[in-house]
């Protein structure tokens, strides 16, 4: 590997979505839609130090701040307080559809997506055959991608993403919208990709995928790190808290509004839970549980937390 040593302390990072607050202040046409000045603290006092070789799973229910944390790591958001230091080339894979041009051919889209991910045109041309083979799209690659089905687009995007050599790979959920056979193949490539990259942070609700790719878990809750440690331990603790954790419908978040957490007025608790950096995490297996179907049952906002003082705000 390249010297992808990643030093990553985020001290006292606080990312806030000012969107609503701003609309409230502007007044006029747009402003009248916003009810109040609401400031969302999507992340609060996150301390995280990830080094080269880390395989981190982000766990937490919707709106916990997983996507925001990923964006903070990728440099899309800069912390409103505190600081982040990221060393190495980052490849974020949040939304497979973004940056795709419906009117140009599959081949051209492969090149463009590569450019977006920080590759050069020449590098992408070298990878073109490999990607074409992987996607199994054949002659379709010469057609504009508006003729593609959703699954075909996902194949294309996955083909590109898994062909690059990032130093830091950030994956957000929503890469599971392909047929099973292809997913098996993609998983192999995804594993390869993760092996090539120096550092992985993966946010997902799929325990299977997380177990495949990660060894460390970070449990986010209301923008704070609740627990951090070996994956199985964190997963087990998470399941204990939420016996039937909500599973997000396949397809991921709608484009554009991706990871914006729901507005939750009232401050989150100030102190993060004690990190359970217990030894020997590998041995603990979480109880097997049948996967509930992706039903409409939305996540219950966290029940009272045993490890924390009661939420002072709500």
């Amino acid at each position: 590997m390249r010297q992808a040593c990643v030093d990553f302390p985020i001290f006292d990072a606080r990312a806030r979505s000012l969107k609503k607050a701003m609309l409230g202040m502007v007044g006029g046409q747009i402003g009248s839609n916003a009810q109040k000045v609401v400031v969302v603290q999507a992340l609060k006092n996150i301390d995280l130090d990830l080094q080269h070789g880390a395989r981190v799973a982000l766990i937490g229910h919707n709106g916990a701040g997983k996507s925001t944390l990923l964006r903070l790591l990728s440099g899309i958001y800069e912390p409103t307080a505190g600081s982040t230091v990221v060393t190495g080339r980052v490849a974020p894979v949040f939304d497979l559809a973004v940056g795709m041009d419906q009117e140009i051919s599959g081949y051209e889209n492969i090149i463009v997506r590569g450019l977006f991910l920080g590759m050069t045109r020449v590098q992408m041309e070298q990878r073109l055959d490999d990607i074409a083979e992987f996607t199994e799209l054949g002659d379709y690659l010469t057609m504009p991608i508006r003729t593609y089905s959703t699954g075909m687009k996902v194949r294309l995007a996955l083909g590109v993403v898994t062909s690059i050599d990032p130093e830091i790979l950030l994956l957000d959920e929503g890469i599971g919208a392909v047929d099973a056979a292809f997913l098996r193949k993609a998983r192999g490539r995804l594993t390869d990709l993760v092996g090539r990259s120096g550092l992985l942070v993966f946010a997902s609700h799929s325990d299977e995928l997380l177990r495949d790719l990660c060894d460390t878990g970070v449990w986010l809750e209301r923008g704070q790190i609740l627990q951090q440690g070996p994956l199985e331990e964190v997963l087990a603790a998470y399941k204990e808290r939420y016996p039937a954790p909500p599973r997000r419908r396949p397809g991921g978040p709608p484009p554009g509004r991706g990871g914006l957490p729901p507005n939750r007025p009232g401050p989150a608790p100030n102190r993060p839970g004690p990190p359970l950096d217990g030894p020997g995490g590998q041995g603990v297996q979480p109880p097997e549980r049948p996967d509930p179907p992706p039903g409409p049952g939305s996540p219950q906002p966290g029940p009272p937390e045993p490890t924390q003082p009661p939420d002072p705000g709500s």
């Binding site: 302390p9 001290f11 006292d12 990312a15 806030r16 979505s17 000012l18 969107k19 701003m22 609309l23 502007v26 006029g28 046409q29 747009i30 964006r71 990728s74 440099g75 899309i76 958001y77 800069e78 912390p79 409103t80 505190g82 600081s83 980052v90 974020p92 949040f94 939304d95 973004v98 940056g99 041009d101 009117e103 140009i104 463009v112 450019l115 977006f116 991910l117 050069t120 045109r121 484009p255 554009g256 991706g258």
Partner: protein, 276 residues
């Protein structure tokens, strides 16, 4: 635990660095700028040459119309209007598109980490390409209505460079502010429309100055910054003597504009991804 180092993201170094990193990604914005144009004319037979053709039609039609209205000879009015329109197309869309530069790239900004200047480079590059297509009309016009071009006409090149340089800060500045205040895009649109009439594009500035009835009021036009940009380019392209006053004002605007924009960049660059 020791106190966390409070590194601020609001520095001029980071603002300049954003511009520099944006420049390095020219393969990306170069491609996107072209794609913007090709997109617009995809599946049409003539493709981007529709830019050229529509400019030709506008200039010829308005040239004939205003030559008649003002009683000017067509060989004077038409070249004047044409060059004015070409330059205005650049200025006007820098301002109107500039207001949307970050808003319309919301998806990209939220999903891919890139210096925000990439989106500005893309827009400016697109406008330069538009300008290039429009200059074809100018070249054809030179065949029909030859202008007294001299070596001094080459001054049009640095004049255009200055226009691009100013377009860049204007897009960046307007883009940042209107991402924050969403009422700005419609406001800029009306202003641009108004300025089109207040700028000597269809009417000839010299004629007004010579007309004793309005000459004192015509001086007010000097307050219009667009007039100076327009004149620095139009005078050399039409083989007219160069008036250095316009150049000085343009240079002053460049310095002031960039200083202001760098301050705004320093303070609000990192907020853009939150605001979109």
């Amino acid at each position: 635990m020791s106190a966390p180092p409070r590194t601020s993201t609001r520095t001029f170094a980071l603002a300049v660095n954003d511009l520099r990193r944006g420049w390095r990604q020219r393969e990306l914005w170069g491609h996107l700028g072209w794609q913007d144009i090709r997109q617009r004319y995809r599946r049409s037979v003539l493709g981007p040459f529709w830019i050229t053709i529509s400019m030709a039609i506008t200039a010829v039609a308005l040239g004939i119309l205003y030559a008649g209205l003002f009683g000017n000879p067509i060989e004077r009015q038409l070249p004047y209007i044409l060059v004015g329109f070409i330059v205005w197309a650049f200025i006007g869309s820098c301002v109107t598109d500039g207001a949307m530069v970050f808003i319309s790239s919301e998806g990209l900004i939220k999903h891919l980490p890139a210096p925000i200047s990439v989106h500005v480079y893309r827009l400016i590059w697109r406008q330069i390409l538009f300008f290039g297509h429009n200059m074809i009309v100018y070249a054809v016009m030179l065949l029909v209505f030859p202008q007294p071009l001299t070596l001094a006409s080459l001054a049009a090149i640095p004049a255009f460079a200055l226009l691009v340089l100013n377009g860049f800060w204007a897009v960046l500045l307007i883009g940042i502010i209107s991402t924050r205040f969403r009422d700005l895009p419609p406001v800029t649109q009306s202003i641009v429309q108004l300025m089109f009439f207040l700028t000597p594009i269809v009417w000839i500035y010299d004629d007004l100055q010579k007309n004793p009835a309005v000459s004192s009021r015509a001086r007010l036009a000097e307050l219009n910054p667009f007039l100076h940009f327009l004149e620095t380019i139009r005078q050399p392209l039409l083989g007219e003597p160069i008036v250095w006053r316009h150049w000085l004002i343009v240079l002053a605007i460049t310095v002031v504009g960039w200083s202001l924009t760098l301050v705004v960049m320093r303070n609000y660059r990192s907020r853009v991804s939150y605001w979109v």
